[in-house]
């Protein structure tokens, strides 16, 4: 049943992987070209150590991040944006810095002392591991392993082994940051919605990771799911901070897409006043996360008032107030992530703790507002935990399937259309009941 939680993959990924109309040219010298030496990371065993670049190239959508900028979807997005502001959007997508910031590693970095255009690599090695100019010559020296993370960081090398740092790197594009803002203008122009969920993205079909984890897979999955949630929320808070000085206000993507994007039939889904007004996709699980934090990460307690700024951000605030609350939230979440990082993750998570976590999520899901962005995160959470430990949570698969049936986008749609929120909530209640019985 490991396929089960994949049911909900949004079509954005399908679009991201869709046909390209341009052959991929590799510059003779670029980070990717350099890394792919057969004796380093260019082996031919996809998924194995020593074949990282090959794995990335053949089984990782990041390698196509640039080439999708040539497809008809990208052309239409740019054309629509240009109609709104022809001064701001002058170039084709593959030349637009705003697009390249996420769809390539960096158009104007230097390599081997020479300025290079590595954009055609898509999101290559440097995209996640950090600009390689300084760390590249050092990382294969015997001394490299003796360096502290801070020393590596000083060389521009990102700490991808730490789950908090890693998920924040992912979130810099998949949620957004200062220079990477998929706002409502972009989405209306045709860019797929960002609905980041670390676990869902990590295990999507067609994505083979090119590394191994230090923890056992089961515990890695549970803990990375948790940290992924906190990190994504942190990225969302930070993005709100950035938008107060750079963005358009109000930013409609900070609300639930489907609070507005539903055909007006009766009844309207989502009760006014119940649905969180700021980032429901990222804040829906917050209460449960706060409660469960010390159980999964001994000693890591959520900052006391973390929910206060979340509530405030849902109100019509002045720019200054908005910034203040978003900054407070970002700082709180940074503290929390730091505590999660420091917590002892060497012990396996006991089955009853996992079971209780799943039960609590199901109970909260059964009482959630009828809004899609408030229900889907509970489904994804349970599906992620089910994926991590089928043995402990195997009994819930039928209920999960019935939820997926409601929440899954129908053919030709990029939203749930008419779905029955009550059926979804009843299925969550059934899961909660099942998990409560021994």
């Amino acid at each position: 049943m490991r396929w089960l939680w994949m049911l909900l993959l949004v079509s954005s990924l399908a679009i991201a992987g869709s046909a390209t109309s341009r052959p991929e040219a590799q510059p003779s010298s670029s980070p990717v070209a350099s890394c792919s030496a057969a004796s380093c990371h260019g082996g031919m065993d996809v998924g194995k150590i020593g074949s990282e670049v090959t794995t990335w190239r053949s089984a990782d959508p990041h390698s196509k991040a640039y080439s999708v900028l040539f497809n008809p979807d990208s052309q239409r997005i740019i054309a629509n944006l240009r109609k709104g502001d022809s001064n701001r959007w002058r170039d084709a997508a593959h030349l637009e810095q705003a697009c390249l910031n996420c769809h390539s590693t960096g158009a104007h970095s230097t390599f081997d002392g020479q300025p290079i255009d590595a954009s055609s690599d898509g999101v290559g090695c440097d995209g996640c591991h950090g600009p390689s100019e300084k760390w590249l010559p050092k990382h294969y020296e015997p001394t490299w392993k003796g360096l502290t993370f801070q020393q590596k960081r000083d060389l521009g090398f990102n700490d991808t082994k730490d789950l908090g740092s890693r998920t924040l790197i992912c979130a810099s594009c998949h949620v957004g940051d200062k220079d990477r803002d998929v706002n409502h203008d972009l989405i209306a122009a045709g860019h797929p919605r960002l609905a980041f969920d670390y676990s869902r993205f990590h295990y999507q079909p067609g994505y083979t990771k090119h590394w191994t984890e230090t923890q056992p897979e089961r515990d890695f999955e549970i803990r990375s799911w948790f940290i992924g949630q906190v990190a994504a929320l942190r990225a969302a808070a930070n993005l709100t901070v950035e938008r107060t000085s750079h963005g358009v206000v109000p930013e409609l993507t900070e609300q639930s897409c489907f609070a507005c994007h539903q055909s007006l039939t009766t009844p309207i889904r989502g009760t006014p006043g119940e649905t969180p007004q700021w980032q429901p996709w990222h804040v829906t699980l917050l209460s449960t996360l706060i409660e469960e934090s010390p159980k999964l990460f001994p000693g890591a307690t959520a900052p006391k008032l973390v929910q206060f700024p979340v509530k405030q951000l849902g109100k019509a605030l002045s720019n200054d107030e908005r910034r203040r609350h978003a900054e407070a939230l970002t700082a709180d979440l940074d503290r929390w992530l730091d505590d999660l990082r420091k917590a002892d993750s060497s012990q396996p998570i006991p089955a009853d703790v996992l079971r209780q976590l799943a039960a609590n999520l199901a109970i909260a899901g059964s009482k959630a507002p009828s809004d899609y962005d408030c229900l889907a995160p509970y489904y994804l959470a349970l599906a992620a935990l089910h994926h991590a430990d089928e043995k402990t949570l195997g009994g819930i698969s039928n209920s999960l399937e019935s939820i997926a049936k409601q929440l899954k986008y129908k053919k030709g749609q990029t939203g749930p259309g008419e779905f029955d929120a009550e059926t979804v909530k009843a299925a969550f209640a059934a899961i909660a009941k099942l998990l409560a019985s021994p």
Binding site: D185, A188, V248, H261, L264, T265, G415
Partner: protein, 518 residues
């Protein structure tokens, strides 16, 4: 012996010439709520003469004054049997009304001024800080005769009493000017501009009268306000008045143009087709005027987030998301992702102005030509920020408001709608309905179809479109049913039909083929 079915007072009036009004004021079946002394909200007195030309006091007026050649005389009857205005207040007590009250945290929707402003009769519309006692709120009345014609009792007695004083001769009231009638409290609803402005105070909104349907109200359950197309609204009401071209209303036939325009606000040479075109045109322009005033007002009240969502195109946001997306394929007028203004608003007036700009009347044409710029400026103020730039919007909306008023004035003072021009306007409306500029906006298409249909004179089979989008405010069977049904009751079916709108399918069936019926 039909007379015995009439209320006692009517018989008294018919036989003894006693003022109907004085007697009816004490009628024990009248609604109990007290009204100020100079106000008469009830329908009982109206029914004395307006129940039918062969009923009650009407008999005498027909005999002595040929009143049936001036008005239909069954107006109150039509209102009572078919017109949803009669349910305007009682709908507040339905489950939907209760649900809205709960969602909006209102203590009681039936005493909430924001609801009463449209759902009851407003005694002094421009009064500030109104209280529930400032309204006539009665289950049996809703928006009754006086809700539109004027609550003041002065005109109500005058408009027939003079008949008694001028036994047999011409009735001075009928031929007095709209201004004189207005002094007695009668609203000049014969003037399409006055009528359009008046209906729009509720059906679009009027902030100065406190008549504003906010997004909070919609979210709480208020049915969406439909595109304001005056002719379709009145025909589905259904219309209880005759036009001056009604074969039975001989009083107006062969009336001199000057008198027709001065006293009854119509142009004999325009004929029925021109009369209808005039109503479609002025209705749309005054609808835009009402919306422009709302935009200006809401700009003052804007929060840091912008203007109230209710001022934008509902369906720009409220649609299920699809790939491929008709909107994305078409592209946007401004930055994508920002709610535009209501598409129907610009579409209807756009066609009317484009038509008027081509006519030989230079005064009208000059004003008409300004529309694209005025609309664009307002639309740009909406696009400047995701929920509008209040500063730019205030300016642009004020200009649009002034422009629309000037345009409506120009239209109403110029007989441009000859039968040929009316036909041209209809053709332009039909063409616009299938234009790719509007095709992705179901509401714009719907408004254009309504206007096209209103001017078609029944040569096309419009019912062939009935499965594709709502072709009227109410369905014909619904209009003719004995119980007036409100839009709220129709909502589920009508929204299902509306949401199912498919631009390609519509295009394939449009324009409708000529009707085969005789």
């Amino acid at each position: 012996m039909k007379l015995f079915h009439a209320p006692l007072a009517v018989i008294l009036a018919a036989t003894g010439g006693v003022s109907v009004w004085q007697v009816m004021a004490a009628d024990p079946v009248a609604d109990p709520a007290p009204a100020p002394a100079n106000i008469n909200p009830g329908i009982a007195a109206c029914l004395g003469c307006h129940k039918g030309p062969d009923l009650g006091s009407a008999i005498r007026f027909v005999k002595d004054y040929k009143s049936d050649e001036f008005v239909r005389l069954n107006e109150s009857m039509i209102w009572e049997s078919h017109d949803p205005h009669s349910k305007a207040f009682s709908v507040l007590k339905t489950p939907l009304g209760e649900q809205m009250g709960k969602n909006l945290n209102y203590k009681d929707v039936t005493t909430e001024v924001a609801c009463l402003a449209c759902h009851a009769m407003d005694i002094d519309p421009y009064k500030k800080d109104k209280k529930p006692s400032d309204f006539v709120a009665q289950d049996s009345l809703g928006i009754g005769c006086q809700g539109c014609h004027g609550l003041q009792s002065d005109w109500q007695s005058k408009h027939y009493e003079e008949a008694f004083r001028n036994n047999g001769s011409v009735i001075p009231w009928r031929e007095s000017t709209p201004e004189e009638k207005g002094k007695a409290g009668l609203k000049n609803l014969r003037d399409p501009q006055v009528k359009a402005a008046h209906c729009a105070t509720c059906h679009v909104g009027d902030p100065e009268m406190g008549r504003v349907v906010t997004h909070a109200m919609y979210a709480a359950g208020h049915p969406p306000l439909l595109p304001y197309e005056l002719s379709t609204y009145t025909s589905d009401q259904p219309r209880h008045w005759g036009t001056p071209f009604d074969p039975k209303l001989k009083y107006f036939h062969s009336m001199k143009p000057e008198k027709a325009h001065k006293l009854f606000s119509f142009y004999p040479d325009e004929g029925q087709a021109g009369y209808d075109a005039r109503h479609v045109a002025i209705g749309a322009v005054m609808g835009l005027n009402a919306e422009a005033k709302l935009l200006a007002h809401e700009s003052d009240k804007a929060t840091p987030a912008g203007l109230d969502y209710a001022r934008f195109d509902c369906y720009a946001c409220h649609h299920d998301l699809k790939v491929p997306s008709a909107r994305q394929e078409r592209g946007y007028e401004g930055a994508p992702g920002r709610p535009p203004l209501k598409a129907w608003n610009g579409a209807l007036t756009g066609v009317i102005a484009a038509h008027a700009a081509q006519t030989s009347n230079t005064k009208v044409a000059e004003i008409a030509k300004q529309f694209p710029d005025k609309w664009k400026a307002t639309q740009q103020a909406a696009y400047a920020k995701p929920l509008g730039d209040p500063v730019a919007m205030k300016k642009a909306a004020a200009e649009l408001s002034a422009w629309s008023l000037a345009f409506a004035n120009a239209l109403q003072s110029s007989p441009i709608y000859t039968p040929e021009e009316a036909k041209k306007l209809q053709a332009m409306l039909v063409k616009a309905a299938a234009d790719k500029k509007y095709l992705a906006d179901a509401e714009a298409v719907m408004a254009l179809v309504w206007a096209s249909r209103a001017l078609d004179n029944q040569t096309a089979d419009w019912s062939s479109l009935a499965e594709l989008l709502p072709i009227s405010v109410r369905t014909p069977s619904e209009v003719m049913s004995k119980t007036p049904t409100t839009v709220g009751d129709l909502l589920k079916d009508r929204m299902r039909l509306f949401n199912g709108y498919d631009a390609e399918k519509f295009k394939a069936h449009f324009p409708p083929k000529p009707s085969t019926k005789e």
